[in-house]
Symmetry: D2
Subunit: 305 residues, 4 copies
């Protein structure tokens, strides 16, 4: 349902245009000093306000209007975790449900509007409700705590955009995205993530293989269409004799002490002027997915440590 | 750990060269008539004894020597499920731990031998123990029951090999594999799986998105290096305006009533003569992965239905 | 940790004197009309403000000062559940952490202050933090939704005080409690709960027997020291031939269609003037436990339905 | 369903008169040396073959005929656990389903026969199937491993019969039981269990309170009708000033470092000659429940350690 993990159990809640979105993180040990600045920065990064010099292209209108302010409700005293559940909310200050009135009786193409209504019998038509990517802000808050815990143990997670459309030169990404933006169209991207400092032995041999849990975490991000690690799909053309020294950091489902590297692909958003959706749009959602990939990786890893 | 799913909860156990491998399937409703013939056939298919006309190349020595005979211990009366846990075992009749004595103090390249010992402090050196692909036979037995339940609800799962090395013409797969076999080398492959008849509404909106759960299930198969659905990795070069009518059968994490299609890649086995491992070998493990992809898909889907 | 149940999964959070207490209820089906009045009434009942005509004796000072106002954050639109997680909070408007400053370096007898500090290395000294019975207000809110869902299915839960000290005549309870109140002492009580309308077949045969799950739910209430159903402890003196027609509504762990009746005992509070704790006190916490027994019963039952 | 615990996850399977009963224990750390003699002894104790000098009265006919022989299938190498799932079975060598043919169309009073059929639509009529107390033999095997792990950490669990009918003098228990046996009747009993050596900090503050989890474990034992700890039901007549130094070893749901003491009551069996059931019978099932109380306590505690 809406819970991720059983050791650091993260429950996400909130509709995009309801009172608030938020989460509860249960299982965080007592004594962790929270770095609130880092959380603020990552929330900005999720909005696309930083990175790739794309403030004018890759940012949604809402991102600009509404700063994400985290209100901490429990589990923290003087900036230190208590070992009790950590609840937080981000109010939807600038929610404009009326902007979405037209969706009451319409389903957007490429969106989940229709299946939601079919599944639940009713839906929150206000801006996609739960299906909105706004929900990932809660993931960023929770995942930053996971990242901080991991950092204390020497584990670092670093994701980056490695491909936009057919372009693989990062210096040209802004240009490519700007072109699609201008045309009212959108384009996909590939994000690569590297985990360094992970000790040997993380992951379980059969079902909870490290790669299986990471794939589960990453594929739960909106617009993600694929996950690969190590030799990935590209390795299919290479014989065993050529590639079997490449582990991707995992052997038999268990980390082997070398860097874990995986890649994931994000499809272009269907909400574009070209598709008849008015207003500003994200020409390449993969840009904003980068910090979300990192926090979902962190939330996956803390379940094992 | 060794449990998959919480509705149809499947626990897998057994070392490759211990007394037996087996499983317990808890949560199967009462009244399901088990098709034992289908299970036998799928176990043969997993051994590579059928399919692609590759009996002499794609089959391990052990597969030939040791027929998989399922012993049903509980949960079934007169071929019908009782609603109680279904336990079954497959004895390791032809286990030859002595063949693996040399592994007591050796770690095979590309295998999990070393990380197991690092993780647990000790390991079952007999033929890989739990890490052996033999464990997937238990998955096939359990997954066949899931497939039967799904079939009764009109859901069909069909996987097939769609690429071997760079070759995408199925008629040429046997030839390609035979060539690698002859050279004592191995090659990877891509399996495509199609789910038909799935009703609208399967999957949960946030973390337990249908694609996330499928990725988790599939990435838990030995040698699997990547998972993609819908437009997948290839879609990255296409603009939103060109591909956003392609859903891959899933919208917002929930099945939309059209066929779900996904693909996964299997790396070549590291245990080859070229790598110094004696005896017969699987030149393309992707062949034998096909029925395993199907049963893991089935075990994933029954959690939602 | 802080989660109850896996179908209607209830996460409770909040420190007694922090910003807020609250909860998230995940798994509630879409379309349930929430009866907000009933929730308000049950919250009052939990405070001891109603029932047994004991407003002056059985009510804590805080209960009077601070009305529990529920703020709904998500999962509800126009009073109807959306099928998404329902998050709510009750702000600690009148929290006075400074009243508890003296507890920073003191452990109260009969309280959990000391074990918390030993377990977590630190604790929220403000009024017991998580250990405070105030946390049960969140249970009441979540449990009322469960009660409403059950009521729609014809299941009713009714608990009542049946013993205070040695007294079993309800008409004399107020008198007995008043006497202990006056002496600055406290006394225990027994609550009986009856579930009517429960269909046959609720509960699982082995571990999740209905009585086991109910015991788990009820024994999680502060100050509860025992649980019994059917013939209970008293039945030990009766031969099988005399009592084996009494099922208590459960056979082999599964409801049999007759009323389920169980009893539970609450010890007297240790925080009394006689024990050196100043201020008003609850002379009989069992009074306020009655609605909590009902909601925990409801939260237990909805996991099975 | 049929799984107990999530750290040491124990799955129980098997019908009383099917091929075998057994279990899988997942999560046991590698390196535990199994004491097989202790397991054999505890299985005998469960049969009532030892203890209270009651071989002729408290033992069922089947217990005498069929020695419980454990067959270990996986997870163990040379008597040492591997860290992989431990599967074991006990074959029903002397199963005589034909003795129960008459039950195909009959429901026994005080048994679960009828609710099983109502719940599942069909049932295994052979000797009660899953509902038979024979299932507890699997619990004993799994629980003995838990006991051994706990013993290595200095935790000891000791249960004993403290009351039979109205009798509380252990020297007179054999006499009381023999009298009921002779009359073809049965009688209940109370078992007390003491946990020594438990470190401070075991248990979770809110729902997974130590007492709640123990109650859940104990109330899952067949014929158990009540659970109490510390001052229990008897404490209801004592004022707070008299009893609040008695913790029962638990404060706020968390062990406080003193002995944990709890009591549970077992009703008399309904299967007696007086009730029309032929053959030998257990005049006091509480005798045989003693070792089961110990192993369920152990299985509960290992989830926390």
């Amino acid at each position: 349902m809406n819970v991720f993990g059983d050791k650091w159990s993260f429950t996400s809640f909130g509709e995009s245009h309801g009172v608030a979105i938020g989460g509860v993180l249960d299982g965080v040990p007592a004594g962790l000093h929270i770095d609130f600045d880092m959380i603020r920065e990552e929330l900005l990064r999720r909005k696309g306000a930083t990175g790739y010099g794309l403030p004018d292209t890759g940012v949604s209108a809402r991102a600009v209007r509404e700063p994400d302010e985290v209100e901490w409700l429990s589990g923290v005293l003087d900036g230190v975790t208590l070992g009790t559940p950590i609840a937080f909310i981000i109010r939807n200050k600038d929610a404009r449900p009326e902007d979405y009135e037209y969706l009451k009786h319409t389903y957007r193409v490429g969106h989940a509007d229709k299946v939601y209504e079919q599944k639940y019998g009713l839906r929150d038509w206000r801006g996609g409700g739960r299906a909105s990517a706004r929900e990932t802000a809660s993931r960023v808050v929770a995942g930053c705590l996971a990242k901080q815990e991991l950092a204390e143990k020497g584990v670092r997670i670093q994701a980056q955009l490695v491909q936009v459309g057919a372009e693989t030169d990062p210096n040209k990404f802004a240009e490519v995205i700007a072109a699609y933006q201008k045309e009212g169209d959108s384009i996909g991207g590939i994000v690569e993530c590297r985990i360094t400092g992970l000790p040997v032995g993380v992951g379980e041999p059969i079902f909870d293989k490290l790669q299986a849990h990471l794939a589960y975490a990453i594929m739960s991000i909106n617009a993600c269409k694929g996950f690969e690690y190590g030799t990935g799909f590209g390795g299919v053309t290479q014989p065993g004799s050529a590639i079997n020294h490449i582990s991707g950091g995992i052997a038999g489902g268990i980390s082997d002490g070398t860097d874990v590297v995986f890649r994931c692909v994000f499809k272009p958003t269907p909400s574009t002027p070209k598709a008849g959706v008015k207003g500003r749009h994200d020409a390449c959602v993969a840009v904003r997915a980068v910090p979300v990939v990192e926090v979902m990786t962190a939330l996956s890893l803390v379940q094992f440590l």
